[in-house]
């Protein structure tokens, strides 16, 4: 890894350097397009755009700490039918990167001709929070520096607060913060393609001895995140254990299926729960009600969540999109993260960790789950 490029440069130039990198890549024809967030006209949010004209790079807001749509979902849309024929650079957060890896394994995205640029991620705000921060005149970008400085921000999305995967691994270039002082940012190439791309950046200096400093900082960062995650899990577990608690925590669910719509892993053409399988004749409803004297309607509210969990939690990257999308603030991302984490751990799998690890559902291991199934 150390054979690849490690560069550092002053922190105030972060946006400028990334923009320069992307612009140079476009101008020099290394890439034909760039996918990265731009500020929306209202200024209250940011969304990805595909830029092919170098002049428009200036409009980017590459590090806006908000995720309106998962970049993984966008990449799936762009590459599922046909892989990119021209090279495109993509700036995305580590959770989006992991979701992209997962979707690639699920044959819903294709990494061909993509230059993946990810970043040390301090977390993001929900769309609502980001908008109100902007409207109140606060600079959400300013909050990030404090986060890297070690402060907790209760406004951050809860899954981000306890995110132990906020350092990217499977990309070509990392925009690095860990291991550098408050006044510096870095660019690290992880692949040959990344090296080649970083070659276009003019300024910046070699980041000598960066690896050790970075490892120490990442370890410390992750420890804190894991501690937070475990505290979140402990608290949540109480609240969701047993069917009664589960019904209680999902009581606010209005069956809108927003969580499924925004989930990058939910790739089905048509969700099973939106299908005709759940259409029944009137007598069935009367039968069900008759058995208990009463029946919650619609019938498939909790079943939808449990079913979705069953289908995708082995690939859940805990990006938190679902919770942002919930109109009634059901802690759906936290629940899915906890279940996903525990299921994946059991099979020594981490969603999005590696392209070489086959998705769990395709695997059969003779020796597993002895404590449940016995010998």
């Amino acid at each position: 890894m150390a054979s690849h490029k490690w560069i550092k440069f002053p922190a105030e130039n972060r946006d400028a350097v990334v923009k320069e990198l992307l612009k140079s890549l476009l101008e020099k024809g290394v890439v034909s397009g760039v996918v990265a967030p731009s500020t929306l006209p209202s200024g209250a949010s940011a969304a990805q755009s595909l830029i092919t004209d170098p002049a428009m790079i200036d409009q980017l807001n590459p590090f806006a700490p908000v995720m309106a749509v998962s970049t993984a979902k966008i990449l799936s849309q762009m590459t599922r039918i046909k892989p990119m024929t021209k090279k495109v650079a993509v700036l995305l957060r580590p959770c989006e990167l992991r979701a992209t890896i997962e979707l690639t394994k699920l044959k819903q995205a294709n990494l061909e001709n993509l230059l993946l640029i990810s970043m040390d991620c301090a977390g993001a705000f929900s769309v609502k929070t980001y908008a109100s921060l902007v409207q109140e005149g606060e600079d959400p970008m300013g909050l990030e520096a404090k986060l890297f400085g070690g402060e907790e921000d209760p406004l951050l999305r809860p899954v981000c607060q306890g995110c132990e995967w906020s350092v990217p691994e499977n990309c070509d270039i990392v925009i690095a913060k860990h291991g550098l002082g408050a006044d510096q940012y870095g660019c690290i190439a992880l692949t040959d393609q990344g090296d080649e791309a970083l070659g276009v950046v003019g300024n910046g200096e070699a980041w000598e001895g960066g690896e050790e400093a970075r490892n120490t900082a990442v370890q410390k960062w992750n420890e804190a995140k894991i501690a937070k995650r475990d505290a979140q899990f402990a608290e949540l577990k109480e609240k969701v254990s047993g069917i009664d608690n589960l019904l209680k925590i999902y009581a606010m669910c209005i069956n809108c299926h927003n969580c499924m719509t925004v989930c990058p892993i939910c790739f089905c053409k048509e969700c099973f729960f939106n299908s005709a399988v759940f259409e029944f004749e009137s007598d069935r409803f009367m039968d069900w009600s008759g058995a208990k004297g009463g029946l919650r309607l619609p019938t498939d509210t909790l079943l939808f969540h449990i079913g979705r969990m069953n289908h995708m939690s082995t690939s859940c990257v805990a990006c938190g999109m679902c919770q942002d999308a919930c109109p009634n603030e059901v802690p759906v991302a936290q629940i899915f993260k906890m279940v996903g984490y525990n299921t994946q751990k059991r099979f020594d799998y981490v969603a999005g960790r590696s392209l070489d690890e086959p998705v769990l559902l395709t695997q059969f291991r003779e020796d597993e789950l002895h404590e449940i199934g016995g010998e």
């Binding site: 819903q108 790739f267 089905c268 053409k269 099973f272 399988v277 086959p358 395709t362 059969f364």
Partner: protein, 1000 residues
């Protein structure tokens, strides 16, 4: 006209393989078994090495599998073309191949199998307790008994020797099935050919008094330990010292009991591995138990076996190369005393708690009789003799031998032989059997569901334990249920016509038979459906006896609730049933064989001899493969004339097209219709085949050890064979052979299997040609399994010297001088020996070779050693995991040439099961994909255990390879999108089942 029936003698694994293969090829089979139950020795064995699983059921056909029943083969078995005759022996064979008349005798069972419902009332009243041989006589059973592995009952029988004729069982039987007046029945049959798979007898350990079996309770046979460790065994898996009931702390296995001695001049081939397996089970139970194998040579020559041995060693199993002259008992310490003579000749004594005798295979006591009535000869060990090592044929045309009746062997070899014998036997039979055109069943899926329900009382076995009338009343109220009948016995022969009549008259279009043992009665109920003019799959068999009445005996109410839920669920599933009956799948009648070595040549010839068109593709310029370099074989046959004959036969066959310097470049399609591109020197051919045999061989392992390449005196075994084949070769003074060069260690942790035999053949050739020459063989374990053991004995008698070396003290070769010097340790002299031979010959073994890349083209799996993997290493030894592809020869792993030839014939036999009939019936339960819903995530592709799914790149979604789909439903559980549907178990049916179970 020739008969379309084949007689198979013996229902052990080899006979079973032969019978199943013949039946799948469309021939009637009469399978006779001397014992009252099927399955030979295997029924007693729960787990097999090296998988530590049973997996016997994987032998069942993969096409038209529903016809053959789908359940545990250790419980029962049926196939519409196989007539099973238990307690039946062969008495006479007259006539000639194609038209034999065989005389048979069936001994009385004293229980009418068709009437027996296995309720067990007879067993309760029987006053006789007699030792149970199924459990190695470690437990008792009654004189009227059934064999109950895994707790599923089969029809009873009476042990005539133990029975006192008291008649209590006759009175107790509710179906009048017991008949003490039965007499032996003689009958005749016309058959086209005979396959003899009469198996072996386990060596009787009382013959070796010195080990104290039968005298000391803690001297047991390996089969007894197998039963003691089994949860279906005499003690439910509780294993202790037999004398005291204490835990066993020290356990000893003595190998070669009844094998490899003066009276038994053969190796039993499987006992080393059986002992390893049992030793590992013991270690699994308690790692602190000291477990030692006292062995002469540890013969781990099979596929994956050396790795298995390494695992045993890792688990702490101790190996002592030694001979054990006797076992004594110390009454003071109550320990068994083992004396063993080590490699160094020293005698050591060790106290142990239990001794396991690894008793070998002995020639069956029937083999003498069989030899007499078939006019066959027996070898000096007592085994029946085929006409050659490479064949299952005997000197009597139309009579074939397979399995341990001709030589002791392990399961995969026995199965290959069974299949090879089937291919031979098939040649004489008419056929294939074509089922009479029957009127298509009406498409009742479109009619409103009208379900008839039969509830079996089982003569009180069910009705006495739960209230069927409550269940009947409740069911009757359902609008889709037309009738609910309680019947005393659904299974009895005379009940059938009444059921048919009831179904017909009531006008129902779906039927629930709430009964027992679906595996046993499925065929019966399907026949009733057919006779009643309904599609046979529009019925269900909830098992309300074993799964309800018997297990919930204590709680009548709960039993009633559960039976209700099961029957209602069955009704629910059937109301949504839409599946049509079986469709026919066409098969292209042409085969592709890849590889022109002995395996490919033999397979091609075997196929061509049955009139199948074959394309034989060979990447090299000439046919013959590695065998071209073989000049000497054990037993003296001439390899090169054998090969010439084979090549001649292939080249002159009108059915075979030989394509040399050609390779397969791509493949599409699957079983029944593979579309394959073949690159020949001139052009690219696009051909269509029904199936493919892959026989791409292996290559010689490259050597760097022992000074090879540095001195002309150091040669490989192949090179030495070439020198020997030169008649002008001068007499060598001394030849030293080193076995296991780079094998069974490091990155080649497997035995190459042929090297020891080849070394012996070369050593004996030297000794025969130049009696004055010295030959020394340095070995780790000599792998002369089966009858090869005789050659080993002979070689020693000829004065060839054998010294064991270990991995820790390998021989050392110095190439400095005019002649090489080799130094090794003589374990007896306990000192270093230094020799300066003319030749140091290295047995360098084989390693995988897939030059043509067929592994990738055909999506084959490879073992950790790099050879191609079969569907199941024990029970499907030549089937690739994907149906329609068969494997044979060294591509599967190293082996001797006779095994290669048998395996190639087995592969051809497997292919004939599909090609001979030119079509087969698809099962009605199978998956299909909704293109609208499929997101092409392809998770179902690797999840499918039968390679029955593939993405169609043109269509953009996953399609089902119909011919391969087994309807297991794994795809439906993997698909998140409900794009996969399993016919007969579609989501509306499943939901309906759940609803009816939950709501009542």
């Amino acid at each position: 006209m020739a008969s379309n029936r084949v007689l198979v003698v013996g229902s052990g694994v080899s006979g079973w393989a032969a019978a199943l293969n013949l039946a799948s090829s469309g021939v009637h089979v009469s399978l006779i078994e001397q014992a009252p139950f099927l399955g030979g020795t295997l029924a007693q064995i729960e787990r097999q090495f090296p998988t530590n699983r049973c997996l016997m059921c994987t032998m069942l056909p993969v096409t038209e599998r529903v016809e053959a029943g789908e359940f545990c083969l250790r419980r029962d078995f049926y196939h519409p073309l196989i007539d099973v005759h238990l307690q039946t022996t062969l008495k006479k064979v007259e006539g000639e191949a194609g038209k034999f008349t065989v005389s048979l005798e069936t001994a009385p069972r004293y229980v009418n199998e068709e009437a027996c419902t296995a309720c067990g009332k007879c067993e309760e009243v029987c006053p006789v307790e007699t030792p149970d041989p199924f459990n190695g006589n470690l437990s008792t059973r009654k004189a009227i008994y059934t064999r109950v592995p895994s707790g599923i009952p089969h029809a009873y029988c009476i042990d005539a020797d133990a029975c006192t004729r008291c008649g209590r069982c006759v009175d107790a039987c509710p179906t009048q099935a017991v008949d003490l007046n039965q007499t032996p029945e003689s009958w005749e049959l016309e058959v086209a050919s005979v396959v003899v798979a009469a198996g072996f007898d386990l060596f009787d350990a009382t013959q070796l008094m010195q080990y104290g079996w039968g005298r000391y309770p803690d001297v047991l046979t390996s089969l007894q330990l197998e039963r003691l460790l089994s949860e279906t065994g005499p003690t439910g898996g509780v294993w202790t010292r037999q004398a005291t009931g204490d835990a066993v702390k020290k356990l000893a296995f003595i190998q070669c009991v009844g094998s490899r001695d003066l009276n038994h001049p053969y190796c039993s081939s499987a006992c080393c591995m059986i002992a390893l397996k049992e030793a590992m089970f013991v270690k699994e139970k308690n790692p602190d138990i000291e477990t030692t194998l006292y062995y002469m040579d540890l013969r781990d020559f099979g596929k994956g076996y050396h790795r298995y041995r390494e695992k045993a060693a890792e688990m702490g199993v101790r190996f002592v190369a030694s001979r054990v002259p006797d076992v004594k008992y110390n009454p003071r310490t109550r320990a068994l005393m083992i004396r063993y003579i080590g490699e160094d000749g020293d005698v050591t004594e060790e106290a142990v708690d239990q001794v396991i005798l690894s008793v070998g295979q002995s020639p069956s006591d029937r083999s003498g009789t069989l030899a007499g009535l078939l006019g066959l000869e027996r070898d000096e060990g007592g085994y029946l003799m085929p006409t050659g090592l490479n064949t299952t044929a005997t000197k009597r045309e139309g009579v074939y031998l397979c399995g341990s009746v001709r030589e002791p062997k392990d399961i995969p070899d026995a199965i290959c032989e069974g299949e090879a014998a089937a291919a031979q036997a098939l040649r004489w039979a008419e056929g294939p059997v074509v089922e009479a055109e029957k009127a298509p069943a009406p498409n009742v899926a479109l009619e409103p569901p009208k379900v008839g329900v039969f509830l079996c009382q089982c003569g009180g076995e069910v009705s006495g334990r739960l209230d069927l009338s409550v269940l009947a009343k409740e069911l009757q109220e359902r609008e889709d249920v037309a009738f609910v009948d309680e019947v005393e016995y659904l299974c009895l022969k005379n009940t059938g016509p009444q059921l048919v009549k009831r179904v017909k008259e009531s006008g129902v279009n779906r039927v629930v038979f709430a009964a027992c043992a679906p595996y046993r009665y499925e065929r019966l109920f399907r026949d009733i459906m057919k006779e009643a003019g309904l599609p046979e799959n529009f019925m269900d068999i909830p098992c309300i006896r074993e799964q309800v009445a018997w297990v919930h005996e204590a709680d009548r109410e709960a039993a009633g609730r559960k039976a209700g839920a099961m029957v209602r669920a069955a009704v629910g599933r059937l109301t949504g049933e839409i599946a049509k009956s079986h469709a026919t799948y066409p098969v292209t009648g042409k085969m592709l064989v890849i590889g022109g070595g002995v395996a490919g040549l033999t397979a091609s010839q075997a196929l061509a001899s049955q009139g199948v068109a074959v394309d034989l593709v060979e990447i090299g310029e000439t046919l013959g493969g590695n065998f071209k370099d073989t000049h000497y074989l054990l037993g003296g046959s001439d390899p090169q004339s054998l090969l010439d004959e084979l090549i001649q036969a292939v080249q002159s066959s009108e059915h075979i097209r030989v394509l040399t310097q050609s390779r397969v470049v791509s493949r599409e399609g699957s079983l029944g219709r593979f579309v394959v591109d073949i690159q020949t020197p001139e052009e690219t051919l696009k051909e269509v085949y029904g199936g493919i045999i892959i026989a791409t061989g292996a290559k010689e392992r490259e050597v760097a050890e022992y000074g090879y390449g540095q001195h002309p005196g150091v040669v490989t075994m192949r090179e030495f064979g070439e020198r020997l084949s030169d008649p002008s070769m001068p007499a060598p003074e001394h030849v030293v052979m080193i076995q296991c060069v780079g094998s069974r260690e490091g990155d080649h942790p497997y035995c190459s299997r042929f090297c020891c035999s080849r070394a012996l053949a070369h050593a004996m050739e030297v000794k025969q040609r130049w009696p004055e020459s010295q030959v020394t063989v340095l070995f780790r374990d000599i792998m002369t399994y089966g009858n090869r053991e005789r050659a080993y004995t002979e070689a020693r008698e000829m004065g060839i010297h054998f010294f064991r070396y270990t991995l820790e003290s390998k021989p050392v070769v110095e190439t400095g001088g005019d002649r090489c010097t080799i130094r090794f340790t003589d374990p007896v002299l306990k000192g270093s020996v230094s020799l300066t031979p003319d030749f140091i010959v290295l047995s360098n073994g084989a390693e995988p070779d897939d030059t043509g890349g067929v592994g990738e083209i055909f999506g084959l799996e490879t073992t950790p050693d790099g050879f191609f993997g079969e569907a199941e290493v024990k029970f499907r030894p030549v089937d690739a995991p994907e149906g329609g592809i068969w494997l044979c020869g060294l591509a599967l792993g190293p082996k001797n040439v006779n095994e290669v030839m048998v395996q190639a014939e087995a592969a051809a036999a497997r292919a004939l099961t599909v090609l001979r009939k030119q079509s087969f019936q698809l099962p009605h339960v199978k998956a299909w994909v909704s293109p609208r819903r499929c997101s092409a995530c392809e998770m179902c592709v690797p999840a499918c255990p039968y390679s029955a799914r593939a993405k169609d790149e043109d269509l953009g979604y996953v399609v089902v390879r119909e011919a391969l789909c087994q309807g297991c439903g794994v795809c439906t559980t993997v698909c998140p999108n409900n794009a996969v549907k399993l016919i007969s178990y579609q989501e509306n049916q499943i939901f309906s089942m759940i609803d009816r179970m939950a709501l009542g």
